[in-house]
């Protein structure tokens, strides 16, 4: 094996431009793979974040008794479509208002608990049930108004789906393209080394002794491309994290978990080894007749 590694190293050193070209194609492929993976994971986190938020808010009329509130809260908890119900009193509402406007004292001065209504925050198990829940609540005599926030969840769900589909298609296409480039580069090298292969055969080299350096070369291109793409992606994320955090602070996806990045590196390396081997093995099967 050491000898095969030596031969592979020599092959790479002797044709540096092909090595760079093959590694760059692999880099592009794995950069796309990492970009789409991180985007999909980010959107998934955002989706989970919004799913955990109340999806319907029902405001009580002024003068509603605690008994009416409890009756409605209990009735909602019995509903199979409801996942969570939370009562927000006038005092809680004021606290939330204060928290959200703490940087603007002018807005805080005139607001007292009396002018804020108490409410129920309801989450549905399935976003499709939100409108029927809102309709039921609107008919309740104690309810003054029902708000169904803009359907962020459904939008995010469809964006995540699109990213997955586009990502898988693009990365799939690039992986096939990368395997074909490695096949061509390895095939070209096999043709270039025809004499050497012929001599090796005649002096008793086993087929695996002749083939292994070519296969290792393909693996090298794959691993190099994947590693550089990972370092590049991580550097970009690290650089843009402070800027992005301002927009998506609450979602909690950034700063990205290093463990997640290590898992992505592991997955990229496994795929790169597979693609590198597939391309070079294809070339060896096609062009190296021993």
């Amino acid at each position: 094996m050491n000898r095969s590694i030596d031969y592979a190293k020599k092959n790479i050193r002797r044709t540096p431009y092909q090595a760079i070209a093959a590694s760059m194609v692999m880099f592009m492929t794995f950069f796309a793979l990492l970009t789409f993976s991180i985007l999909a994971l980010g959107f998934q986190s955002a989706l989970q974040f919004f799913e955990s938020k109340p999806q319907v808010i029902a405001f009580f009329k002024e003068g509603t008794t605690q008994r009416d509130v409890s009756a409605l809260e209990n009735a909602l908890k019995q509903e199979p479509t409801v996942s969570n119900v939370k009562y927000v009193s006038k005092e809680d509402a004021l606290a939330i208002y204060h928290e959200k406007n703490k940087d603007d004292p002018a807005l805080l001065e005139l607001v007292t608990p009396d002018i804020l209504p108490s409410s129920l925050e309801i989450s549905a198990k399935n976003p499709e049930d939100l409108s029927s829940l809102a309709q039921i609540l609107k008919k309740e005599p104690a309810i003054d108004d029902v708000i169904v926030p803009e359907d962020v969840v459904q939008t995010l769900a469809s964006v995540t789906r699109v990213i997955r589909v586009v990502g898988i298609s693009t990365v799939g296409f690039l992986l096939i393209f990368a395997a074909l480039v490695i096949l061509m580069v390895t095939g070209f090298k096999i043709r270039l080394k025809r004499n050497e292969i012929e001599i090796m055969r005649l002096i008793g080299a086993s087929p695996s002794f002749i083939r292994t350096p070519f296969i290792l070369e393909g693996v090298f291109y794959g691993v190099t491309g994947a590693l550089v793409a990972w370092v590049f992606s991580y550097t970009l994320i690290w650089y843009f994290t402070p800027f992005m955090q301002g927009f998506i602070k609450e979602i909690g996806f950034l700063p990205i978990d290093p463990i997640l990045m290590l898992i992505l590196l592991g997955i990229s390396l496994i795929i790169s080894i597979f693609v590198g081997m597939l391309g070079s093995y294809g070339a060896v099967r096609r062009y190296l007749k021993i």
Binding site: N195, E196, E198, G204, S206, F209
Partner: protein, 226 residues
């Protein structure tokens, strides 16, 4: 050592070997002679299993190589050193690296390779040229390098296909003397040639091939081109 029994080989409609039978013992020096196209190279290729006969039996050692599995061919070739008319040295490797290639294939360690290559290059008298590339060598030096590559692993048999074909007479004699010396170590040498001066001077066994048939097999034979 090597036994051919009623061996036939056809390339399309051309009969390259026609019912060829002979036996070569360990340590013999045998010339295979005949005009171009007589079947000399085919015979050597069959011994290394580069070509497979259409019929007949071929024993190398005790093994019938016509029934040998493809996976076992490299093992057969490791017992045989091959010297070519055009040297077949790798242009991007030095003399030392070209000779070391044989031992790398055998899985020898770097230390063993260094010792064995040095010993062999000194024997064939091209140690001073060890760091030169093939394009920097004379014809004689290149052929000595090729012979070193063929014998560095101490094979049982050395096959030489027209090894003096591209060399001037003086250099050719140097190569023949080297092959003769290798034979004196107990290695069988089988040399295909049509150089009658070499054959007649050396007075070794001569197998004459014509149109794929053996027409003569004589100890201390001679070869006359008619």
């Amino acid at each position: 050592m090597i036994t051919f029994e009623n061996v036939n080989k056809k390339f399309g409609s051309t009969q390259a070997l026609d019912d060829v039978s002979f036996e070569i013992k360990q340590g013999e020096f045998v010339f295979i002679v005949g005009p171009s196209g007589a079947g000399k190279s085919t015979l050597l290729k069959i011994i290394t299993r580069e070509a497979l006969p259409n019929s007949g039996k071929i024993l190398v050692g005790n093994q019938d190589i016509t029934k040998m599995k493809t996976n076992d061919i490299p093992k057969l070739r490791r017992k045989i050193g091959f010297v070519f008319q055009d040297f077949k040295l790798l242009d991007d490797r030095t003399v030392f690296e070209n000779v070391a290639l044989t031992l790398e294939v055998l899985g020898k360690s770097d230390e063993e390779i260094s010792k064995m290559v040095e010993h062999t290059l000194k024997l064939v008298e091209i140690w001073p040229q060890r760091n030169l590339f093939p394009r920097q060598l004379s014809g004689g030096e290149a052929q000595r390098s090729a012979i070193a590559r063929a014998v560095v692993s101490k094979p049982d048999i050395v096959l030489a296909d027209e090894p003096t074909g591209d060399l001037d007479p003086k250099t050719a004699w140097g190569v023949i003397q080297l092959l003769n010396e290798i034979n004196s170590w107990g290695t069988s040498v089988i040399m295909a040639t049509h150089n009658q001066e070499i054959v007649n001077t050396l007075k070794r066994r001569v197998l004459i091939l014509k149109n794929g048939k053996i027409t003569s097999d004589t100890k201390e034979g001679r070869y006359e081109v008619k």
